[in-house]
Symmetry: D2
Subunit: 315 residues, 4 copies
């Protein structure tokens, strides 16, 4: 299968990992969810991110889940897989398995505990050397969980040094100025222009696109909206893109609740028919009655609002 | 002046502290900003929060600024003042000065470094004992800056033990379930019901009101919107409240950028004529050209949207 | 094999996991190291702690290493195994395998990200329910890495609620007062007295013993010294215990360098003939020439000092 | 008075700030403590560090305390003063006052919340520009409290850019390799060689001296020992230096208990006749009976040990 490169763009949803109520991987839902994402018109797919509850799977489960989805996607879009681990040995093993299965590249988040620029730089030298030049690497930025902060300066230092680092999943918040600096300094210094996809549920997506993002990589449960915003924006319809985005903004925000988002998103995916059960593995958030009422209400309001002119999503 | 008590409610904006471009306190703008807030219909006023750049003032400046605003307010609404400090001695001194000047109560945030429930509980015992039973205390929750997390259980333990703690400024994110637990457990155990105002720029304000919040305490630069949402909600117009809130949501979110919000808010307050200069004291964020373009665009979109039926704000 | 219970005491070294220079587990050294610990007179053995580089092993490697050592120990002392994981599912799987292999109990550290007392309490309810009442659980306290802080109050709340929690590995620093409170409050409230073994390389070991610790659980590379200190103390020879401890204190401190200790300890174990290679898996610290010189010097000074009266260790 | 420069060396104790039992500054003890330090043979004096409870003083108290001690020292040794603050405005004001009073330079710690190398670098540009080129600045490294980590690379970047930065108070732990890199890279690149004094109560002092430290800056309550270790080392008596250091090591360690050290040190200073009361300002640690027993015991053991050949301290 084709490898990910710096031209990657569009919407790469971070897939949930569906479980049965008994706690095992729900293989049937895995296929169904894959089909759902493809129907949404996504440009790629991301497995085993934090939204994918990666850290709650054994290595064997992770490799099997990735292989199943990659087979189902059948090369229609690139599939990238999170392989972050506590050590290079398990990271290398999982990487080998998913690349063999046809993954287009891997995401690696820096481990909690790295602090200085040099520590982060050195860690990723270990990563790219261990995985080898043939494995495209995505830097997975997520300070709220990792407490590891990446400056524009440091990222470009890695772009210079590590040829296999082809993408930044920018999940810092706000990150707007960080993206502007990455684009400006990269151009000034004549560096290769890498792909930047933004996370955070799509927060600030219109602003990020304007500042030079290539798309989004997030677990937001309406990837079809993100696809349309991306396409409207690409077609020059900035206002239309932003109108549509704003209509979903209350749900974007609602899903962004730290520690709760996973449960909210799985519940919405279930309601949308993408998976059979909203079960998460422990430890994980559990929706309470008040949450379900709020989701009902927000979806009801969204549907009424989508009746307004200019907002038809076609989905 | 009247002291704050558990019945406090409504919108208490967290005031900016206006500076001249040269860096001194802009006393004229202080008056003007006070008038602006009162014109917005606010129910109270909060000085020297993080939005007020409290940590960048000397104790003398802080006391003088609070006295000036309290005099200008002239008892029309209660004014509460942030007095968090590295030690009880400076906290007590600032508290004495602002209470003498007519403050209705003080906000205290736990210092970075407290970790366990017992450490937080013990710290606030020190606070309420030092300040004395006559000084109403607001617990200022703000984990992103303090890294101190408050559970519902611990807060109610303090409500039981510390009679002068009359309000929680809930700024945890998400905090929705925390509020629900506080209300439910407090009722179950027959505790006095304290006031809970929510922060975070108003994020989730409709949901918080539904779950039992008494209002908002935030630096969001359109407190008039929050006042109207609060009033519509109180009048039973939940849909109208939420429609209005959603219209401003892109700006709520935009102002919420960690570390950037202060500069964005001061710029918007300047544009609204509330202060003469958007200057912040160092160290502080500085807006860049791309930020100004985004603010223009977001305000332009808001104005067009407010032309839609049902959204007239009257301001 | 016998299960761990509240009477556990003595010195439980945290075993290194030996690797070959090529990076695989060095099975021969695993046996040799096990024999070394037993020769030191230890009262138990701990596998797959942080010193054991647990997070750099796959689940299969972890289970195989534990089984090998347990077989070699052959029931002469209890062997406990670290099973901390990102989710309950992999934790349950590893636990099942090591308990089947004959482990006496498991260590579980709270995951980074837990903050309030309730969050920690709830997490461990999940642990003890998942693992079942037959699996003895050791609470592994290690705030420098986990950023999770455990108060005496919270620990005793868990002792009350979770019958299978039989031991605290206390690694908070300082922790002296924490231990005193645990013993005093537990006695006052008539709770079962659980075992407390202290970590941190043995730092403050004499003081901890005096305050009621039952022994030590640490990766310090001279467990024979800890055994003798423990025994002298138990025999009433407090001065002799402390004299011996102080002789090793420069090395205790030297090994305690955060992030470096692992490499120092493996190097000392290699010099002592306990393992064949000091290799650590990546990412990990690497000794530099200046470090080796310091180790030489510290060991040289120790040997000269052990020549003084009263310090003969017999090893 | 002479300004601090890159040649600064020796032992700069971090002075306690003595309080009366009623909580005010104990001015008489301030003089007495100053005399005590001078009698110990120190090479400089540091006021208003964390050991000096700086954050619990008002700006007026801080300035008055510094002026009093500086007057008492009467130019016999340089006095440097901590001026860290939440904003540049109060930092500039305190700096102006203490420099006017005769301080030789100031210490500035980065505020909690800085994360990337660029953020730290930019913060200190603000500091040196605000304070001006005439004020020597000491970078105060203390990650356990600030959570701000300084790499050798970043420090040397500041040495290049900020001419007034003349010293590093290195308090990272371990920091041994950091010092080695600073010395090696600075020499390789032909940078000016700045002074590095180490903190952490003197932990690893012999190793640090060997690796190129210029002395110590710490609140350890036996600065006379540090002076003698420094001098023996300078005289080529490495073994004698280390013998003396090791004799005090149990007390070095005991004082290093995070969050407790302040109370232990003030108690020891009181016992040594340097201050009249061991009172600390709230919030602060309070010694319990078990702590006092341990201090008795450790000092008793030290005194017996100092009776051994080679350890006479002359104090």
């Amino acid at each position: 299968m084709a490898r990910l490169d710096e031209q990657a763009h569009g919407v790469y949803p971070i897939s949930a990992t569906p479980f049965t109520d008994a706690g095992g991987i729900d293989w049937e839902s895995a296929d169904q969810l894959t089909d759902f994402y493809l129907t949404c018109g996504v440009h790629g797919l991301t497995l085993l991110g934090m939204m994918g509850e990666a850290q709650k799977l054994t290595l064997d489960e992770a490799a099997a889940f990735a292989a199943r989805v990659i087979r189902r996607v059948d090369a229609r879009v690139p599939v990238v897989v999170g392989v972050s681990a506590g050590g290079m040995a398990p990271m290398a093993e999982l990487t080998a398995r998913v690349m063999d299965a046809g993954a287009a590249g891997v995401l690696v988040a820096p481990p909690t505990g790295l602090r200085t620029d040099d520590q982060i730089f050195d860690y990723f030298r270990g990563v790219v050397e261990t995985l080898g030049p043939e494995v495209p690497v995505i830097y997975q930025d997520y300070p709220p969980t990792t407490s590891v902060f990446l400056s524009a300066t440091l990222f470009l230092r890695m772009v210079r040094a590590y040829g296999s680092m082809v993408m930044l999943k920018l999940e810092d918040c706000p990150g707007l100025d960080k993206l502007t600096r990455i684009r400006a300094d990269s151009a000034r210094d004549g560096l290769r222009r890498v792909s930047v996809l933004v996370g955070n549920g799509g927060l600030y997506f219109p602003q990020f696109l304007e500042r030079g993002a290539d798309g989004a990589m997030t677990g937001f449960a309406f990837p079809d909206m993100l696809v349309q915003v991306y396409e409207r924006f690409g077609a020059g319809d900035r206002e239309g893109a932003e109108d549509l985005f704003d209509a979903y903004l209350p749900l974007v925000i609602y899903e962004q609740q730290p520690g709760y988002g996973l449960a909210v998103r799985k519940e919405i995916l279930r309601r949308r028919g993408a998976i059979r059960s909203a079960a998460t593995r422990a430890p994980g958030p559990r929706l309470r009655p008040a949450d379900a009422v709020e989701i009902d209400r927000l979806i009801g309001r969204l549907e009424r609002r989508l009746g307004l002119p200019g907002l038809h999503t076609g989905s």
